[in-house]
Symmetry: C2
Subunit: 210 residues, 2 copies
DNA sequence: GTCTATATAATGATAGAC
DNA sequence: GTCTATCATTATATAGAC
């Protein structure tokens, strides 16, 4: 992303400025702030993108296209608990993308659904490989499990970020993410290695009920 | 909550109307809509509460006070996966509270932190009892585990609700919550009974690193 | 206490000059 | 393509009559 400024058309510069502004301050940010960042007039923004929503669509398309081009190992990382966002957060150059993605998922906007589906698709592949390698236990419904794990981990991440952001607003999301992983590494590993319930028959009786 | 309308002072009627409006449409809703629902003039709202933020504080205090008065079994329910929100959603008379709480947690507003802490406190007690009863495995750090589990389940719930709400806006949150639990009952039980990783030594090696 | 009317501020969008 | 200026809408908050 983000080539040299001089290389880009004005429209692309506005779009990149919008990605940055939306990522840092959420989608409530005004057209004027975006225009200021792109060093153009407010009127020019709508001249190119029609409306604020059109601008956001352009941002979504751009970000989603970029994410789709990344390889699987980037998206799922080595760490099931952290998932894709953790991996992206560690790469300096992806910081603006990371922020935009978090905002987009929080907002539940148009990008959120396709992005979530994309993450789940990757997770299915990734867990299949890990099952074949004997690292992860097999599941009776691998697709549902992948979806479930992503819902848990992504949802927890977003909730944690929002609460942390409120508690100390100057802390950036990427540091908060590192804190999240170190704070909960122990319970996460306990859960992943030994589960939670003592009686494994709970699962069997559920299966028989069906 | 919600006594007979005639019993309430005008200020309390406005506050209850605000809880309903905020719960149904989020905190972006205007003072005018709240005033209309309470059947008073817009000006009167700020006369009583000073500002919109003051009104929201009054709503927060009211809802939090109500939640604090509930008993533990209501808050944690019988189902670890669903947690408190699931239990509340099933009780018809709590529907407005439920909606308000979800909005508040989504928003990350002032209520969210104290509410989350309260839920975690309850979860600590609840899991302690379950460990003593031999239902749940012990943890090396019970407080961190309770916090972790609540972060996972609450975060997943909020994320799911937001995505569902977008996909079909006419579906209400309580039905969505039932869908969530039936859709993911299997992977959740798999996770709770058998964990995810085949090699239990992963935990031990993590502990030795410290 | 309660109302109507208005001040004030910010936003997205547009018109028209260059 | 790009700018300045402005419109129209919407929101919160307030002033003053009753």
């Amino acid at each position: 992303m983000f080539n040299d400024r001089a290389d880009l058309s004005t429209a692309a510069r506005i779009r990149d400025a919008a990605v940055l502004e939306f990522g840092q301050h959420g989608f409530g940010v005004g057209v004027r702030a975006i225009a200021a960042r792109a060093e153009v007039s407010p009127g020019l923004v709508n001249h190119h993108f029609g409306s604020k929503e059109g601008l956001r669509r352009a941002c979504d398309d751009h970000v989603l296209g970029f994410v789709r081009d990344q390889r699987v190992e980037v998206l799922t990382g080595g760490d099931m608990a952290g998932g894709m966002l953790a991996a992206m957060a560690e790469m300096e150059e992806y910081a603006p993308l990371f922020a935009y993605l978090v905002r987009s998922l929080e907002d539940g906007g148009p990008l959120a659904d396709s992005l979530f589906d994309h993450i789940v698709d990757d997770a299915v592949t990734y867990t299949e490989e890990a099952v074949a390698a004997g690292i992860i236990k097999p599941s009776r419904d691998p697709a549902a499990r992948a979806r479930y794990l992503m819902l848990l981990n992504l949802g927890a991440t977003l909730l944690y970020l929002r609460m942390r952001r409120r508690r100390d607003p100057e802390l950036d999301d990427r540091q908060a993410l590192r804190d999240l992983m170190s704070e909960f590494a122990l319970p996460a590993l306990e859960m992943y290695t030994q589960g939670l319930l003592t009686d494994p028959a709970v699962l069997d009786s559920f299966l028989q009920e069906k």
